[in-house]
């Protein structure tokens, strides 16, 4: 327990013991819960992608907390573009590879990786370095280039996007991880964990023609939410996103943000991003819209956030 947490709970307990009102008692118990349980969001800075991943997972009880023996796991990185890793258009291959290996070591029967890419899918899989990293770690790259790989599901909480065709391997798996990269984005302003969901869906054109931000928020209401959003901020793309033009668009932050909460993860990532490229949070509308749909919270103050510097 951190010193800060100790004081916080001590103060609450102290106040509660003086007033002993029912309301305060409930505050106390909930705070206590927050203090004792695992963090809601973990941020790591200063390491290599694989190291930061392992470190962050440790805070949440390790990979075994999420993946059980014999389970089918899906990992959904951003592999949208035919770009090499140095251009930060796709998720870091080392990060994805390490996650595959961890899942396998936790006893996963199968680890599947896919993305519905924007560029030619084979070239994207290859040139992103992800295919190589995944296969080397014992995972399986699966195509998502054909509508037949997708199945329609209802999104009852969605406002504009009420149903969507989602990749069947994700529908059929036991647990999945959303592993986006933090990028500037010409249309959605920023591409983080919720924007990454466009790659599990077949018809992304619908998003663009029916209010991109609302559709992204709607997609985040999908009932089968990821075990974790693991945001790769090892290299980020600060401008000309989502493709980038050159390495001048790339900034090395050596960071990683991890949370099961879409909204919290994207909020934290935006705050990290804004230090490089100041962005008005209100312009990244889908974050607020998702919060309104009760997908998560933007209020990081109310969460148990664990910050680790390596």
């Amino acid at each position: 327990m951190k010193r800060r947490d100790f004081f916080k709970s001590a103060a609450i307990v102290g106040i509660a013991s003086v007033f002993k009102t029912k309301a305060l008692g409930s505050v106390m118990s909930s705070s206590k819960l927050a203090v004792q349980s695992e963090p809601d969001l973990v941020a790591v800075m200063g390491g290599e992608p694989g190291v930061m991943l392992t470190r962050a997972l440790k805070e949440l009880g390790g990979i075994g907390h999420f993946v059980k023996r014999g389970q089918k796991v899906v990992i959904k990185p951003n592999i949208g573009w035919d770009r090499k890793p140095e251009l930060a258009a796709n998720t870091n291959p080392e990060l994805v590879g390490t996650l595959v290996r961890l899942c396998k070591s936790a006893g996963a029967s199968e680890v599947i990786v896919f993305d519905n890419t924007c560029h030619d899918w084979k070239k994207s899989y290859t040139n992103s370095g992800i295919e190589k990293a995944v296969t080397a770690a014992g995972g399986k790259m699966v195509p998502a280039n054909d509508e037949s790989y997708f199945r329609e599901v209802e999104l009852p909480r969605g406002v504009n996007l009420k149903k969507a065709k989602i990749h069947r391997s994700l529908l059929d798996c036991d647990v999945w991880f959303n592993v986006p990269i933090l990028k500037h984005h010409g249309g959605a302003k920023n591409s983080i964990s919720m924007k990454n969901l466009m790659g599990i869906v077949w018809d992304r054109g619908f998003f663009h023609s029916h209010d991109l931000h609302q559709c992204i928020a709607d997609a985040a209401t999908f009932h089968k939410s990821p075990a974790l959003n693991i945001i790769d901020a090892y290299r980020i793309m600060k401008s000309n996103g989502p493709q980038g033009k050159s390495e001048a668009d790339v900034v090395m932050l050596k960071s990683l943000i991890m949370s099961p909460d879409f909204v919290a993860a994207d909020t934290a990532a935006m705050k990290l991003f804004s230090q490089v490229q100041p962005t008005d949070m209100k312009d990244v509308r889908y974050i607020g819209l998702a919060e309104r749909l009760k997908v998560g919270t933007q209020n990081l103050e109310r969460l148990n956030v664990k910050r680790i510097k390596l």
Binding site: G186, G205, H208, L272
Partner: protein
Amino acid sequence: MKFLKKIRIVLAVLFFLPILLFFIDFTGKLPTQIHSFISLQLVPALLSLNLLVINIGVILALLFGRIYCSIICPLGVFQDIVSWKSRLFRKKSKKYRFDYSKPQNTLRYLILAITIIVFILGSSALVLLLDPYSIFGRIITQLFRPLIIWGNDGLAVALNRMGNYSLYKVEQISFVPLAFGVSLLFFILVTAMSWFWGRLYCNTICPVGTILGFISKISIFHISIEESTCNRCGACEKHCKSKCIDSDAKKVDDSRCVSCYNCISTCKKGGIKYDIRYKNRKIQPVQSEIDNGRRTFLLASGAALTSIAFANTKKIISNNDSILARKPIMPPGANNIDHFNAHCTGCQLCVSKCPMQVLKPAALQYGLTGITQPHLTFSTHVFCTYDCNICTTVCPTGALRKLPMEEKKLTQIGVAKFRRNKCVVFTEEKDCGACSEHCPTQAVHMIPYKNGLTIPEVTENLCIGCGGCESICPVRPYQAIYVEGNSNQIKAKKPSEAKKFEKKIDDFGF
């Protein structure tokens, strides 16, 4: 001498298979270097002025006769396969059924003359239709490849259901009825002719065959019948798919002989020789088979037909499937439309190699004379990949100049045109930006609009016309942003780089 046929068959397979597989390969797994087999084809070599290959072709023909037709030409080998397989459907007594026929010289020379004249007058229409390599390319790409991909897709679906993803489905979007029709027509023509009459196509219609026929008349090695050992059994004549052996007269028509050496292998008496023409013998003057009357007729009709063909070469701009009556978008490296139209033979190699299938055979976009020449058509997720120059590297005819990657990235094949009043940011007042998202040069970029919204803007001199924007624009059926083809491909401005971020961040910011 019987080993000659075996050598011929082995070599033919060695040349035929790589070309066949290269055309069929839809996974892009085969190395692009295989296209060097294709650069040995004579018409592409003539069009790209590949002097080395032309010289090799001429020297080979001067030495050995038309072995090009039996080994290097894929359409020739294809016909041999058809002719060979046709035997399975014949009665035993009729398996070898050829007999000598007179050459159709008038027709042969007429077709060659018209092809050349029309080409000199600036239209490659007939070269495109008659080049044997291109006919083969079209037959494979338009007729056979789709079948193989269907087979692959069926297998892929079955395997994927079982959780095996070693095969994947390939969407086929390159069906163009007119191009398919032209390919089918020639497939039927060539197949039927070879099924019934052996190499009649090569010896009547094919202009390359006719030219090589001129050379093979004086080739150093040639097939001839040994007076002393021949007993006029006629076996060689029956086996001669070129129908050029007259066993009664003991004569061989060298201009039609494709040096397949079947006759040598057939003759039990050793009565067929393949040896030096000019040995111990005074050189016999080559008989001219063309008399003056024929020549006149030839020229006259040539000129007449030429003018008809020439009149038809006017470009027709179709506006059926386009947003506006836009000009066709040529592949990168085409330079300008006249060069491209004159050099492209519509062989479909670039079409079959294009990983995005954005290259499709044209219907009438280039006019009647450009059917099956490639052009770009964009559809969802289908546009010209920024980091790809494969079409320019495989083109055997020089219609597409080989572009180094950096040059390709700056080659403007068209320009994006933005129609603001159709854009969803304007009509719905909602963010989109899909076009800018797909723009590799950021020629299409987002500028402030209102209420925190951003709207696209095009900087035309940065645009290379890849069609990323048009392919993804959600406004359908007529996109709010589309690419207008360039008749003259020019160099785009190099996109400027973003300002580098130098400061060190060592705080999370939250």
